[in-house]
Point group: none
Chain length 263, copies 2
DNA sequence: CGGCTTCGTGCCGCTTTTTGCATCTTTCAG
DNA sequence: CTGAAAGATGCAAAAAGCGGCACGAAGCCG
């Protein structure tokens, strides 16, 4: 959903969007929202107070944060959210533009894929399968026909479930596009993430989907996480916020991976 | 459809168009519709109220939005959360006191069970299995060893997943206590909830657990929801905030169900 | 056919909600 | 300790909503 749409919205809808925005970005400031929605800071403050009262977000000095993020404010997850937030937002918008109405999407964990989910408001009739518990909450309801959550053990830092993947796939699902956020990408090791269970899961996801989009912000270029997922060629498309270093760019080209740099 | 066609339409057709318009745009304002259909704002308001009553859209100040679109307090779920807040909090504290360290808990959907999860901070080494996506977020991390989320289709109003239950149970899990929030409890029909899928799921949960605690606030006494779960005797314990009416109390006693009234 | 009811509609006065502004207080960082 | 930013509070105007009322069209029935 483009941000110009946020002006001239009804009060109730505006608050709903606001909650979605907070959950997608992790944090927002009052002045930021004021200019985004084109309303006075007082109204923003009242909105935030109103929503905080109902536990939909947590109020802080200067703005608000997602309610879940406050208790774990110093976790790496929340930190990452803040640090790379504009890069992620740009990637998210670019990816949302590459999705068509009616597609079936497989979405894995990570703050980038979560931001994408929040940007899918312009789409319709999507079917979503995800192991990312934040996704159902930030997904605009009017965008999707059905949402399926993959069961499994819950990992608090990443707000995802792991495991049981093979079951979900054994049930026989057909997926158009996998949206995969990864922990690292390099010419030597390919794609990688933080845990072995997640790596196995992601590899399965890629195998299941007809098309795989890998989403990485530039901070992950040339960086390898703990567990390897597979070679670069597993991805059909890589969406990022800056041009990768020459070595990685060359490796992507050689693997025939389309590179999309979000404007 | 061109917008000039919208004038001089019969009331019924006009309302149908109106719903279509709301779904397409996500939001509409009263004045906008007034000029579009060439009718007074009063009629528009009446139309919107009429349609909102049927759940075809959600009424807001100044217009209406697509029904699923309000993440905020207007959903029945959040409404219940607010309305019965103190009662739920009392029940939650009472239940938390009845749980021991190291137990394995099965927690279903509902605002009451969610409140319980938030109160479990004093416990340690719990293992939690749930289909309630809000539970992992409100559960104090230090209280639990592991959290498992049951997969399935996501229901936005209740923030739960449904389905796939049998799989989770087929995997062979052993559960000490099931914490079950229900939609209704009465002497005649026993326990009931809003959807058939959930009723089946809850019945399976009860079957799996050694001990079943049913959590109900007093607003549900004598009230039957749509789908029956089973007789009162399925519960080992009922925790509530007020003494039930004599008829229900007698039925509980006859079924040998322990009754706990939260102070 | 004529009287009757019902429904949809528009209008009027009054209440409620929302919003922006001004003023005073609190919080936070250097 | 101090100044700037953020927040709280009170207030007034505009917009929206609510309830009652009247009028006309359509349908019902003797």
């Amino acid at each position: 959903m483009s941000e110009t749409d946020l002006r001239d919205t009804l009060p109730a809808k505006r608050r709903a969007e606001l909650v979605r925005l907070v959950r997608a970005r992790g944090q927002v400031t009052v002045t930021e929202l004021s200019s985004l929605f084109d309303i006075s800071v007082d109204t923003v403050r009242r909105d935030l107070d109103h929503l905080a009262e109902r536990g939909l977000l947590a109020r802080t000095h200067g703005g608000a944060v997602a309610s879940g993020d406050l208790v774990t404010q110093d976790t790496p997850f929340a930190e990452r959210l803040v640090r790379q937030k504009t890069a992620k937002a740009r990637i998210a918008r670019a990816v949302a533009g590459l999705i068509s109405d009616g597609e079936t999407l497989l979405i894995n964990g990570g703050s980038t894929t979560r931001a994408v989910a929040a940007e899918l408001g312009a789409r319709r009739n999507l079917t979503i399968v995800t192991n990312n518990l934040a996704v159902p909450q930030v997904l605009p309801a009017e965008a999707c026909r059905d949402i399926y959550v993959m069961g499994g053990q819950y990992r608090n830092e990443a707000q995802v479930t792991v495991g049981e993947v093979r079951f979900a796939f054994a049930a026989g699902i057909n997926v158009d596009t996998a949206l995969i956020g990864v922990g690292g990408i390099s010419a030597e090791r390919g794609l990688s993430t933080t845990s072995i269970a997640e790596a196995v899961m992601i590899a399965d996801m890629i195998k299941t989907a007809k098309r795989t989009m890998v989403l990485v912000d530039s901070s992950k270029f040339g960086h390898d996480s703990f567990a390897d997922i597979g070679p670069l060629s597993h991805a059909h498309m890589v969406v990022t916020d800056e041009l990768p270093p020459p070595e990685l760019a060359a490796a992507l080209a050689e693997s025939k991976v389309d590179l999309v740099v979000a404007p």
